[in-house]
Every structure is written in C-alpha cells, then in structure tokens.
C-alpha cells in the first residue's frame, strides 16, 4: 500500500496551520500525530497516578496503560515485553547500558571495544569514557574508500578474541546508509562479544526486528518516530539482561532494602529506577500503533523514494555535492549535502526563512563529518511519510536562492 502524504498530514496538527511547511528535519525530531497527543492528554486529565503503587482505580488505569505500552513497543521490534526497558531516550539508554555492563564486570583492562567511524555521539562518547576508565582499546571500523558505507572487508581484522563489546548503528543519521548489522553481529558472536545496536535513526522509518539484527542490545528514542520527547527504549536479550546489574539506582527496582544493602527485582523492573516518564511511554505506545497502521515498510518505501528524488535533483544543481548513500535500497531516507561557497548554516538559515526546515552542522557525528567525510559541516534533509515531492521542490528553490544571494559576492 502506498503512503498518501496529504492524508497523513491531516493526522498531524502542526501541518494544519495553513501556510506551507516543508519539514525535512525528522532525523532531528519527528512531528507528533494527534493520536499520540490524545493518549498523553488522557493520562494527564483522566487517570494520572503513579504506576505500580496506587491501589485505586486511576492508579490501576495508569499502570495498565504503561504496561500495555511496553507490550506494544516490544511487539513493534520483535521482542518480549520483559526485555523492553523504558528510558529517557537513546542517550540515556546508551549511558545506562554502559554502566550496566561496567558494573557487571563485563570488561577488564586490555579488552577491546569495536565501534564504527559513523556513530552518533550518544553511542560513541559513553564508550570512549568506558574505555578511558577501564584501560580498554576502542577501535573504529572505517568507511570504505569513496563511500559512505562501512568497509566490511576489514571487519574480521577489527573483531578479535580480545573484543568484548561491538557497537554499531543500524542507520546513519547523516548519510542515511543502512549498515549490515546482522553481518557484524555474526562476526562479534563468533568471538563471544556482546553486540549493541543504536537503531535511533532507523526505528519507525524501516522495519526493525531485534532477532534479525542479531544484537544483544538495541536502543532508540521515541521522538524521531512520532513519539513524544523524553522517552526511549533499551532492549536487551532476556538471558543477558538477567545477568546484569542495574545501571541507575533508586526506588522501584528493589526487592528488599536494609541500611547497608539492597536486592533487586527481575527484568525489566530492576532497570527502571524512579518514576518513569509514564505519559511518554503511553505516547510512544500510541505512536507505535499509529505507525503499524500505516505500515513501517510503506513508510520506508515512501521516504527512500523521496530521498532518491531529492538526491537526483540536488546533484543537478551546479555547486551542490550530495553526501548520502545513493543506493536507495540502502538508505533510510536521509540526504546530506554541501553547497560550494556557502556554509551549511547559512543554507539552513535561508531555507528556514523560505519555510523549509533542514538541519546544518555535524549532526552529533563529528568524527564522521569532519574526519571521514572531510567537511566542517553538512546540511541535511531527512524524509518521512508526511513529506511530499513539493517539499523537495521548495528545498531546491531555496538552495538556488541561497546561491543567488551569496554568489554575487564571491566574484
């Protein structure tokens, strides 16, 4: 079934304002459909209570809604619900996971951690700090020459018997490239390493199944897939999770506490200390339901077709260089680019005044942008199921206008 962006737009209040709004910044955060707002509103206005505590009706309603959200999210990624941990987002997931592994003694001095040259800072920096604290060797699988894809020919050289953790993103938030995670997972498991997969740029944009990825841990934010901000997920394989210490400590995770020590509950409760983002989790559950109704595969078809169209049209503009995965089958729906003689920030500013929202910068993947791709910053257009070919026309017009404004002075 094909996605009809015009009817999709009607589900999103932000597009009902009247004036054209080419929102090409979903990779930063998506827009929110009314169904998500409605369930969150219902929680705050009809059954607000803390979960798993209140022995009164609304307390039970809140607990049920929260638990239901967990079941929905688990189903969405092909997981069991007790393997799904709600967090504050991908960054919180990544940091908490590193703590869980560290507190559980998974790594020791001299061990190796393998990641890639294209990771988001949310994934990279917690690993850098883990390596620093424990004297680990952090290695990065590079990009293939003249390509935005990883160099798979060196994977076996990087993943060795010393490797304890392998961390790889499913899709790049800069180039859109979809990585062959299953292939990396297989290599990692051969040497007994644990595999972490950051699916933040992919989930809700292409089908994500934890079993197909072969990873031991998967994490993402809710806000790039129609969910609210401040909610995210850490998924872990049950048998691995059961062996791990909590990464964050506090109320709600304990069985018994004395002044000297505490014992912890089973999974996933032991990893959710404190009152969670209840409304956020309920909202994420609704987002998942909404995306399933449209069909994630249909969404990916739509986004990658638009990304392909955009890349082609941008390449036709003299002075524009596209930096993205150009095989549309391997692109999640993201096209980055640079315009000769105009800094991406200026491009984004002029586009913004034309009603076209894109993002410029290093996109929290500074090593990828500045070292691997060799540019100080890029402009990025990211596509979703509410985008139309008209949005791309507006993008092209805006870039030409920026060139017109700037080129008069570069002579």
């Amino acid at each position: 079934m094909k996605v009809n962006p015009e009817s999709i737009k009607k589900d999103f209040p932000i597009f009902l304002k009247g004036q054209p709004f080419a929102y090409l910044d979903t990779a930063a955060t998506s827009q929110t459909p009314q169904v998500v707002l409605d369930v969150m509103d219902a929680y705050y206005t009809k059954f607000r209570a803390n979960i798993h505590r209140g022995l009164y009706e609304v307390g039970e309603d809140a607990s049920k809604a929260y638990d239901d959200a967990r079941v929905k999210v688990a189903r969405f990624i092909g997981a069991e619900s007790h393997e799904v941990i709600f967090t504050a987002g991908a960054t919180a997931s990544s940091n908490m996971l590193v703590s869980m592994l560290e507190y559980s003694g998974i790594v020791k001095e001299g061990d190796e951690v393998v990641t890639t040259a294209m990771e988001h800072h949310a994934s990279l920096i917690p690993l850098q700090e883990l390596a620093k604290r424990n004297d680990l060797d952090l290695k990065h699988i590079p990009l293939a020459e003249d390509s935005v894809a990883l160099d798979y020919s060196v994977v076996e050289k990087f993943i060795t018997d010393k490797t304890k953790i392998v961390s790889i993103m499913l899709a790049s938030n800069v180039t859109g490239v979809i990585n062959e995670v299953a292939r990396i997972s297989e290599a990692a498991h051969k040497v007994g390493a644990l595999v972490i997969c950051d699916v933040t740029a992919a989930v809700g944009h292409m089908s994500v199944d934890v079993k197909t990825l072969g990873a031991d841990f998967v994490y993402f934010s809710g806000h790039k897939m129609c969910g609210p901000t401040g909610i995210g997920v850490l998924w872990g394989r049950a048998d691995v999770l059961k062996k791990l210490q909590p990464g964050v400590y506090g109320g709600g995770i304990v069985e018994e506490v004395t002044l000297a020590r505490a014992t912890y509950r089973g999974i996933p409760e032991r990893f959710e200390a404190g009152t969670p983002n209840i409304a956020g989790a309920i909202g994420l559950g609704a987002a998942v339901g909404y995306l399933e109704e449209v069909g994630v595969e249909n969404i990916h078809e739509h986004s990658k077709a638009l990304a392909d169209m955009a890349a082609k049209l941008l390449e036709e503009i003299p002075g524009v260089r596209v930096i993205a995965e150009r095989d549309s089958l391997k692109n999640v729906g993201i096209v980055s680019f640079v315009v000769k003689g105009i800094h991406p920030h200026d491009v984004a500013d002029i586009l913004g005044k034309e009603g076209v929202a894109i993002r410029a910068g290093h996109h929290c993947a500074m090593p990828l942008v500045t070292d691997a791709l060799g540019v100080p910053a890029v402009a990025r257009a990211s596509f979703y199921f509410y985008n139309t070919p008209e949005d791309i026309d507006a993008l092209v017009r805006g870039i030409k206008k920026a060139q017109e404004i700037f080129n008069n002075f570069s002579k």
């Binding site: 800094h343 991406p344 005044k353 034309e354 910053a377 017109e404 404004i405 700037f406 008069n408 002075f409």
Partner: protein, 152 residues
Amino acid sequence: MRLFVVSKRRKKFLTILANSMEELYKENLLDHNAHPHNKRVIEVPHVEAEARNASCGDRGVLMIAFNEGEHVIDAAFQGEGCAVSQAGLSMLTDKIKGMNAEELKLLSPGDIYTMLGVQISPGRVNCALLGYEALEKILKKPLREKEPICLH
C-alpha cells in the same frame, strides 16, 4: 565597504534581496564574508584566542597586537564557518584597531549586533558572537605576552 557600479544583474539581485525576507544577509555582511578584512596571521608579538561554535562547526582565532599603552596596533583573524561568524570576525578586527584595553572591555554583545547591522535570531547568536567570545578570552590574558599560534 567597496563601491559597486550598479549593473543590470546586480539590480536584479538587489531586487531579490529587497523582496526576500533575508534580513540577515545584508550586503555589507555578505561582502565581509566573501572578502574578509584582516584574514591573516599577525607575525609580531600578539595575544590570540580561539572560539568555537560546536553546533555548526564555526571556528575563529582572533589575534590582537597591543602596544605598551595597551592600544590595539593590529588585529587579524583566521577561521572558517558561516557567513555571520566570519563576517563578524572581519568587522570586529576593523572595529577594534586603535581601541585600548579599557574600551575593548566595554564592548557588549549589543555593540556586536549593531556592528553586524542585521537582525540576529536566537539561533544565530552563537555565530554572531564568535569573535566577541574570542575577544573576551583575550581580555582575560596578559595582553603583552606572546603566545604560540594555534589554529586547532
């Protein structure tokens, strides 16, 4: 600012500029961006500081040579980044020549916006104040000390 003969092409461009909402991209700013003033390295003893705008990758190194009376005898910059940040550095180096340390300390972000002559939206504040940030760092240093040139 350079003087232009208004050509037909330029007239068309000026119309586009006037009709557009590009308050930010005024001629003077674009001209400084394309043809920056004082974009060079100062060879004599001077003080320098770097400022970065991590979100968009702007970078600027401001260099100031002071005489014994703490007057600016030369100012220059190196850097890369968006038009607002680089034109800002260019204009700032022009503006501060001849000023003394006390006058430099009295400069405020408001003075920088006035100097740029364009409307600065909240999203561009860090770009606009890149040179100012480097200047503030310089003013915290001993002004007569020679420092190694560091572009990274």
